[in-house]
Symmetry: C2
Amino acid sequence: MTTLNDTVGVADVIRHLSLYFEEKEAKATAYGRQFTELWHAARHASEGGKKFRPALVLTAYRAWGGNDEAAAVAVATAFELLHTAFLLHDDVIDGDTVRRGRPNLVGTFMEQARDRGVGGTEAAVWGNASAILAGDLLIHSAQAMVARLTVGARERSALLDLLEECLFVTAAGEHADVAFSTSVESPVFSEVMAMTQWKTAHYSFQAPLQAGAILAGAGQEAVAALGEFGRSIGIAFQLRDDLLGIFGTGQTGKSTLSDLQGGKLTPLMFYARQLSGSDELRETVGRADVTDADRDRVRQLLEAKGARRFVEKLIDDHRHAALAAIGTPAVPEAFQRHLHDIAHQSCERAA
Amino acid sequence: MTTLNDTVGVADVIRHLSLYFEEKEAKATAYGRQFTELWHAARHASEGGKKFRPALVLTAYRAWGGNDEAAAVAVATAFELLHTAFLLHDDVIDGDTVRRGRPNLVGTFMEQARDRGVGGTEAAVWGNASAILAGDLLIHSAQAMVARLTVGARERSALLDLLEECLFVTAAGEHADVAFSTSVESPVFSEVMAMTQWKTAHYSFQAPLQAGAILAGAGQEAVAALGEFGRSIGIAFQLRDDLLGIFGTGQTGKSTLSDLQGGKLTPLMFYARQLSGSDELRETVGRADVTDADRDRVRQLLEAKGARRFVEKLIDDHRHAALAAIGTPAVPEAFQRHLHDIAHQSCERAA
């Protein structure tokens, strides 16, 4: 089975990203040490990760016979920049200073300020300002890469529409997520599901697949089918992520306590909290001092109440919907098989 | 003397802005009440103000005989969106919840959360998240308006370069500003001046004038001259703004205490602080409880130490440099006269 990481061209995306940041860092030196440092940290934030959004762009592009490699790599890189920008602003919003066990951009600049004897409040201002500005720059650059393509007017227009929609929907999802986690809004289950789609599925699956196909000149029916597939598989991916956040074995490199501590309102937790006898769950979730024992108890509760089973069923349902959407002559058969592989990887992954 | 506010087409920009926000608000309804509210608040944030950046785009465009009114209005509107985005993110970074005496976007969403019984910390998260996301959306849309223009490939490319430079330089200026105000960096005078140019002059004067001229097909020499003019006059404008922030008569609609309370490191204050006997100044600036009497004492100090005179001289010097830059046949004579008017307004204004 081919995996997304094997996608031809992902190495080119990593190279393109690297060249982009080198150019910016070089330019930044004229604006002082701190601004150069900011670009360096932004580059660091873009490194690592699975690069599966660029891989989706490239694989869809190839499926429809696209042969302008440079254009495909530019669009693929744009999605990775957008992803990095979203993470940077997400961290500011959530007040996170750590990612994957190391200081994130906010944390790096906070530490730097403290090392210079700056107080905690001001150090936090410095860290947050740095991440806000870095995100702004990457949001702009993501679009600049697409806007500069020398492609037909129709393709450019369709890609710009897609990117604008992508920002719009993702921002809507992030806004809803914060509304729920701050208790500004009290959602029903379907709203938590919609938030998941807007915040993650749209820009991570739907838009990259569609962008690759559009750039290669695929027809409307194909683009619509990929949109349906991406939406459903993106939701399934996120639901799997939520399960791994609690039941994971640590292979994700992510603590199985952080989701609990953050009190994230995932469909999993929302469903569980609505069940009778979930008082213990409510008390545990969102506490800063959650222990391994607390997590184990939460796991037991989620199993006993059927919440885990419920989410597994949801993942299955979305996977079936995704596969049904691409069962059309508009999607080349070989690519249908590849999308089956992607669906499998997204739903079954253990990391 | 013609004023910028009289510029033909500014009303079209206001209409274009209004249509843009109407479309977004209508689309947002599918994403719930809060996201619709976010767009409504973003529109509100873009209203009022002098709209002088769009006016600069339009007036330069006309000077070089541009006749694609729709394209000029789109570029002019893009600069106003960018300006609004910068203000929104600025407010988050500075922790400001009020602008022109009324709650800004952060403050509006914070109040809304508190009205719903949400605690202070969470309400602040909600307010800041809302402003970060609104700014992200406007940064994207500003560029989308330019990227979608049906103009020649050369003009599009030059405009995209200009916009990317604009984001880059403004972010550098904002980053430096925060570095200085948090004491992460201890600048020398020339660095405070550079920060002023990067943060304000570039996107407020230099880039809008150049964008209008480029769109109309002006030559390199003209574009370079406008850049020089915009840079110098933009610095003069900001220095005047700094003086009005302390010595203003309230006509600006801005309190003459807020700059003092915020402890902003302007060239004015930086110069004054370096002089002997400025201990009282250091103690007063940045205090939250600054009174009218404190401000009066600061005014006396700035006068007595010659700081005000020093900045007035700087304004004059930059004004002369600006006018010298446009004394070239590459700039039409009638437009040179108009730029003299603009220089006068920027340097002499009392509000």
